[in-house]
């Protein structure tokens, strides 16, 4: 019940339009009103009035929600951040653990170059300032999956700061109603991942797998510029695409390569920010949105009933659809940060500051990396729009679905049909079939070549569009047959021969004199299509 209400109110998205503390939130465009104009790039800084507002049951004043995110992305590298052991998903437990990962005394960290490059690439792609000097720190806490009793991270001076991420959200019921938002990136830091704890309740024991301990993570901290679950989910999705485009992380949430913690608070517009809670262990974009929206609702409910919000950590139970308190914390834990003495400051260079005669194996040149950045999703979408004349929302869909862009491009390669036609077929019909049967693109029974062939047939008017649909259905059902085969089997070809056509029409009309006039007209239509 609660979940349903949340969704409704968020779809309308009226009550979360918080332009209130607009002063410190430059660059944030708020879509207000029912008009949907996609804003490119810098959105206007507007102190726009709120249109409508969530009216609570008790008729109190409006609420605004503030959402910040801490995203941990596992770096795609061969070995771990500070040791030479391999990085591999789903290996036998404790088979990828070096002496350093197990915290054997006397072992020392050695920085992985690839991880640093990944951090620089990600920082550049997110418009950050790359700190030419950054430092490593120890963050202490005791937990069984943290062998050293501390995590090496970058608290004082991280590798990249002050960036921004542009993402888009839908602001109306129509797909074309889409608005661009930006969220500021506070910082990106390199840090170690911990091991995994597997709780064995029946035997009251916990099993520790250290394969993941020491794997490099990029922590990307998003400022609290977002205001609801959908915005957060869209921002995360865009970040995923960027990381995947860069190759710095596979960012697969299901495999734990991307983990998101959300910081959520609510307040009345014009008043100071409320107490925030942290929601952890969100391992899918869908849960992320649900959890955030639930938490917002819960906080409003608590506050309206005169209770206080505790600064606590909560987890999301997806079966029940609610957040629950996680750790028993009486005060905040003091991590006793201390500089990591075994790692000298990390120095990066650009072409201007590169010391002469420096060993290229030992230095990283930011300019060199910037010149070789792969194409980012925003650029890809732009090119699709320009090259194929498709609508912006189509470009988003193409990129958002895993593998769809590649499918689309393969079809384009093999067909003479107009790009708009291809777009329409791929996004409407093909994608529709996939969604209906809950399949991923790579599970599709229809190959790009098959679809291309079908579109070619359509293009040279060998078949009608309704016939094409029939063929597609058949392609989907039965593997191995080509479109041409299906067409001839089912005799779906358009008749080109005028005389034969007339003969057919006469036969039909003689058989049905009543519908004669009507029929003639329709027959004309038939031959023309």
């Amino acid at each position: 019940m609660a979940a349903l209400v949340v969704r409704l109110s968020c779809l309308g998205k009226r009550w979360v339009l918080a332009c209130i503390d607009g002063g410190s939130r430059h660059g944030r465009g708020a879509a207000i009103g029912l008009t949907s104009r996609r804003k490119r790039g810098q959105s206007s800084v507007a102190q726009q009035p709120l249109i409508a507002v969530q009216k609570s049951r008790k008729g109190e004043r409006e609420w605004a929600a503030v959402v910040g995110l801490e995203i941990h992305a596992q770096i795609s590298s061969n070995s771990k951040l500070f040791s030479g052991s391999q990085v591999h998903f789903a290996a036998p437990p404790n088979s990828l653990v070096s002496f350093f990962d197990a915290s054997l005394p006397g072992t020392l960290p050695v920085l992985n170059r690839r991880c640093v490059e990944a951090a620089v690439m990600t920082g550049l792609a997110l418009n950050c300032r790359i700190n030419k000097k950054s430092l490593f720190d120890r963050k202490h806490y005791f937990y069984a999956d943290l062998p050293a009793g501390y995590q090496i991270t970058q608290q004082r001076l991280p590798i990249a700061v002050n960036g921004c991420l542009a993402y888009s959200v839908s602001v109306g019921k129509k797909p074309s109603q889409v608005s661009t938002r930006t969220v500021r990136i506070k910082q990106i830091q390199l840090e170690q991942d911990s091991g995994k704890s597997l709780h064995d309740e029946p035997r009251s024991q916990t099993l520790i797998d250290l394969n993941r301990a020491g794997v490099g993570l990029l922590e990307v901290v998003l400022e609290p510029d977002m205001s609801c679950g959908e915005e957060a989910a869209s921002a995360v999705r865009e970040l995923q695409l960027i990381l995947q485009a860069l190759g710095t992380s596979q960012a697969n949430m299901a495999e734990g390569q991307l983990r998101v913690d959300a910081n959520i608070s609510v307040h009345h517009p014009g008043e100071p920010l409320g107490v925030r809670t942290e929601v952890k262990n969100l391992n899918s974009a869908r849960f992320l949105a649900k959890a955030i929206d639930f938490e917002i609702k819960r906080q409003i409910h608590e506050l309206e009933n005169g209770r206080k919000i505790l600064n606590e950590t909560r987890s999301f139970d997806d079966k029940l659809g609610c957040t629950m308190p996680m750790r028993d914390k009486e005060g905040k834990q003091d991590y006793r940060f201390m500089p990591e003495p075994n790692l000298p400051p990390l120095l990066l260079y650009d072409t201007a500051s590169l010391p002469p005669g420096a060993d290229p194996q030992q230095v990283i040149n930011i300019d060199w990396i910037r010149e070789r950045l792969p194409e980012l999703p925003g650029k890809t979408r732009e090119k699709l729009i320009q090259q194929y004349g498709m609508l912006p929302e189509h470009s988003f869909t193409l990129l958002n679905e895993v593998g769809l862009l590649e499918f689309f491009q393969n079809v384009i390669k093999e067909t003479r049909a107009e790009p708009k036609k291809v777009t329409s077929w791929v996004l409407n019909i093909f994608l529709g079939f996939l969604k209906q049967q809950n399949l991923a693109v790579n599970e599709s029974p229809v190959t790009p070549s098959a679809l291309a062939e079908l579109l070619n047939l359509l293009d040279r008017k060998a078949i009608s569009s309704s016939a094409a649909r029939q063929v597609f259905e058949e392609l989907w059902r039965s593997k191995g047959k080509t479109p041409s085969q299906i067409v001839s089997e089912k005799k779906l070809e358009l008749m080109q021969d005028q005389e034969a056509l007339e003969r057919v029409c006469h036969t039909v009309m003689e058989g049905h004199p009543q519908v004669g006039v009507e029929g003639r007209r329709k027959a004309m239509h038939f031959s023309a299509c």
């Binding site: 006397g106 920085l111 069984a144 009793g149 075994n342």
Partner: protein
């Protein structure tokens, strides 16, 4: 905590020696986790100074106490690398490795009459050295003469990819030439090191040494290291903070001692660490965690780091003013009997005994303790030379010259060996615990 732990890898310094054909005689005793200045707080018991059984010492003692059980008043070796110093002093081995964080190699070297060398921080790899204070630890070298120390250093120094704090350049083995240019030397005598607790004997040897250099034409001048008086306190803040951090890994989960409690992870951790650490270690962990708390960090840790910078700059300034090497005492006095040493606790003793040695660790400089002469009681006294960063060879050259001048006597244990009829005596003499 590490009783029974057999490490699955060799430290870089050990591996380098093995690769060059060294024969490992055994592992030596020390203060637990290198915390202490007497080598009295180890799990295997305290280390006894071989000089307790030397002819030189015994002869002097016969003049004093009579009818005393000869073995009850044995002397400490100093620490924390006392076992290594004793092993070298007793001719058990050619050389021994120790660690030096606040003087742990030089202190026992002085008490045991051997050469104790602390290399520049970053010259020798720390990979495999169980850390006490990562920013100050170095592997130390103990030998009977300076030439031997130079041989060992030549094998150990140089970049190690496994230790990110080592210098990039490789280092080649070297032999020490005879130092001929004593008259071009400038020796600094830091006036703040003239501590009131300094024994008159040590002070007199210190003066004699200074005069020796002067008589050979060297320039001997008084210099000032103004922040010396803050260094003990500063050292304790930084040391305990790093210790608290470094000891966090000892939880009994992956290796080492684990207690029997398994009611909860926290209970297991607490019991394991209580059982596995002695009081000294636990005390330092608690202090260190206090200093690292958010509300204290600025006032203690950060402040101590700033003071450390001042102390290091003191040395830089002195060396920049033309001084080549500093000459100081290593210890306040000769080795004391164990029974007297344990009258004060570990922390008090460390604060007292580290006074001449630990500022060097804060500045990362090379230093060496060279045995000078025997005291009135027949026990060794050593003096310390401190050199410029990464001028270790130069430092050893000077030390070698000095060693030649003073002709420190060889320990006479022969008498003991000869009239030793019971195994009991031999067992007590040998302070090397051989790993089975």
């Amino acid at each position: 905590m590490l009783k029974g732990y057999v490490p699955p890898y060799n430290a870089t310094v050990v591996q380098k020696l093995l690769d060059k054909g060294a024969v490992l005689m055994g592992k030596t005793n020390l203060d637990e986790f290198a915390m202490g200045s007497g080598s009295t707080d180890g799990v295997f018991g305290p280390v006894k100074n071989p000089w307790s059984y030397s002819k030189q010492y015994r002869e002097k003692r016969k003049q004093k106490a009579h009818g005393e059980n000869e073995d009850s008043n044995w002397l400490i070796t100093g620490g924390s690398s006392g076992g290594s110093a004793a092993a070298v002093a007793a001719f058990t081995c050619f050389a021994a490795l120790g660690s030096d964080t606040g003087g742990s190699t030089r202190n026992p070297a002085a008490h045991c009459g051997v050469v104790g060398f602390k290399p520049s921080y970053g010259l020798v790899s720390r990979h495999g050295l169980i850390p006490l204070v990562n920013s100050m630890d170095v592997p130390g070298i103990l030998t009977r003469c300076v030439d031997d120390a130079a041989i060992v250093l030549g094998m150990l120094a140089g970049h190690d990819p496994k230790d990110s704090t080592t210098i990039q350049d490789p280092v080649k083995p070297f032999t020490l030439p005879t130092f001929a240019d004593v008259n071009k030397l400038c020796i600094g005598i830091p006036k703040e090191y003239l501590a009131p607790e300094l024994s008159s004997e040590v002070r007199s040897f210190w003066s004699k040494a200074a005069n020796l250099f002067e008589s050979e034409g060297a320039k001997v001048i008084e210099v000032s290291l103004p922040h010396t008086s803050y260094s003990i306190v500063c050292y304790h803040v930084l040391c305990t903070s790093e210790v608290a951090s470094n000891m966090a890994r000892f939880d009994g989960l992956e290796y080492g001692h684990r207690c029997d409690i398994n009611v909860s992870t926290e209970a297991m951790y607490a019991a394991t660490r209580r059982e596995g650490f002695n009081d000294v270690v636990r005390g330092r962990i608690l202090s260190g965690n206090f200093f690292l708390l958010k509300e204290n960090y600025e006032n203690y840790f950060i402040k101590a780091q700033k003071v450390r910078r001042l102390i290091a700059n003191d040395f830089v300034n002195v060396f920049n003013s033309g001084v080549d090497v500093l000459l100081t005492p290593t210890t306040l006095s000769e080795a004391v009997p164990y029974l007297e040493f344990i009258k004060e606790d570990n922390r008090t003793r460390s604060a007292q005994d580290d006074i001449f040695t630990q500022a060097v660790n804060m500045a990362g400089l090379p230093a060496v303790s060279v045995p000078v002469a025997l005291s009135n009681q027949g026990l060794p006294i050593g003096l310390q030379f401190i050199g410029r960063a990464f001028c270790d060879q130069q430092l050893l050259k000077i030390a070698k010259w000095f060693e030649k001048q003073v002709q420190f006597p060889v320990i006479q244990l022969q008498e003991l060996m000869d009239d030793c009829s019971s195994d009991f005596e031999i067992e007590k003499l040998s302070s090397v615990s051989l790993k089975q």
